[in-house]
Amino acid sequence: MISALRQISRPGSAALRAARRPAVPQTALRASLFARTLVTKRYTQDHEVVEFDDASMIGTVCITDYAQSSLGDVVFVELPITGTEVAQGEQIGAVESVKAASDIYAPISGVVEEVNEGLADQPGLLNKSPEDKGWFIAFSKDLRNSEECFIGWLCKIKVKDAAEIESLMTAEAYKAHCES
């Protein structure tokens, strides 16, 4: 049973996302932006959250709001290398805060397509988990000046088997897990 968030992407809507890089070309905007996509959000026991877009087969991995608040201020993020093949449950990086380095695990199997380079300079972005606050971008004519575009995602994984998503927890199950 799929518990899905059906989002219709519109220009200027919260669903638009772009990596925070210098001189982002306009072509970084994906074509799927203007089509209807099915986005499924699932959670792991180790507090990773993945937003899976079945059109692009990309799962965007973040840590949950619960995780970032129980960690404290993030001072360092270790990310996987683009192109690495990862298996569900495999260690793909770490997050450091208050002298504690906490391992992060791949919620789904696939190939790492992109990592959030912005975290190297601003590890604290991870504390601004997109979970509650959502993705957003301040739309401006010149995409390079969209400084308000903060995004606390870790990496994007190109998924092979979409069915793996179903093995993860829904938001309700995750909430129960945190409170148990």
Binding site: Q91, S97, K99, D103
Partner: protein, 269 residues
């Protein structure tokens, strides 16, 4: 409401080589992961020990970078080991005269699970309370993790790794003056204007009328007791007479430490 099982602690007698002890931590971590998957009879453990002189780096410091490699060479040149680890925090020193504690706990045992910030906080409070209760030493508050006697003197450090809610690495607290000369050779914990303090020095400063013959094993008992208080768990000394996997692994490390012989008291240059 069921009570949580005790934390089993063990005090090592001889200073241990770092790499061998790190291997022990990994072994015990693997036992915990395995037992947790299969039953729920995994034990929470607190190891207390001293190391032979060693400098260790944390996860942020890339062991193959030229800076870290140069530093490793320099420090090995003065008679210490150098090991890159996966814990949080930066370069620090461990050696005789400093108590190192490795709580190997399952944070998921608590209901709800113990958060990392909370875990670090309780560990820090354990060290602060030990200093004040056992030695009338007051710490000063700090934004930095660890325990400070004043803004330029650090007496205890914390650096931890968490995997699937299982903790490794832990804390260190300087008891005698022996570690101090070694600390002078590095910028520890990335804090350039901070130097190391120890219990022995502070006790002399306060003129506190106690027996200045500081006994390391006695200190370890005090730390274990206070650890139990902050984590709300009974602390039980591990029975080394059994044949269980944890006990055999610890015994092997103790035997290796005996073979290693004597250690360097001061840096060679």
């Amino acid at each position: 409401m069921s009570r949580l099982p005790p934390i089993f602690y063990h005090k090592f007698a001889l200073p241990l080589p770092y790499a061998r002890t790190l291997a022990l931590q990994e072994q015990l971590h693997a036992f915990q992961l395995h037992h947790r998957r299969n039953s729920a009879n995994h034990k929470d453990i607190l190891l207390m020990l001293q190391h032979r002189p060693v400098y260790t780096a944390g996860r942020r410091q890339i062991s193959t970078s030229p800076e870290v490699e140069a530093e490793a060479k320099r420090l090995q040149g003065i008679g210490a080991d150098f090991v890159a680890t996966q814990r949080g925090g930066q370069t620090t020193y461990h050696g005789p005269g400093q108590i190192v504690g490795y709580p190997l706990l399952d944070l998921g045992r608590w209901s709800p699970p113990l958060g990392i910030r909370d875990y670090i906080c309780r560990m820090q409070k354990t060290l602060q309370l030990h200093l004040s209760e056992a030695h009338a030493i007051q710490h000063v508050p700090s934004d930095n993790t660890g325990v400070f006697l004043d803004e330029h003197t650090k007496i205890a450090s914390i650096g931890v790794q968490v995997r699937h809610r299982l903790t490794t690495h832990g804390f260190s607290i300087n008891v005698t003056r022996e570690p101090l000369a070694w600390f002078q050779r590095v910028v520890a914990c990335g804090l350039a204007d901070v130097s190391a303090g120890c219990i022995a020095d502070s006790v002399l400063d306060t003129g506190h009328a106690i027996n200045t013959d500081i006994d390391i094993r006695h200190e370890m008992e005090g730390l274990a007791e206070r650890f139990g208080r902050f984590f709300e768990r009974d602390m039980v000394e591990l029975d080394m007479g059994t044949k269980e996997d944890v006990v055999e692994a610890i015994r092997a490390v103790e035997e290796d430490a005996q073979q290693a012989g004597d250690w360097l008291r001061v840096p060679t240059s």
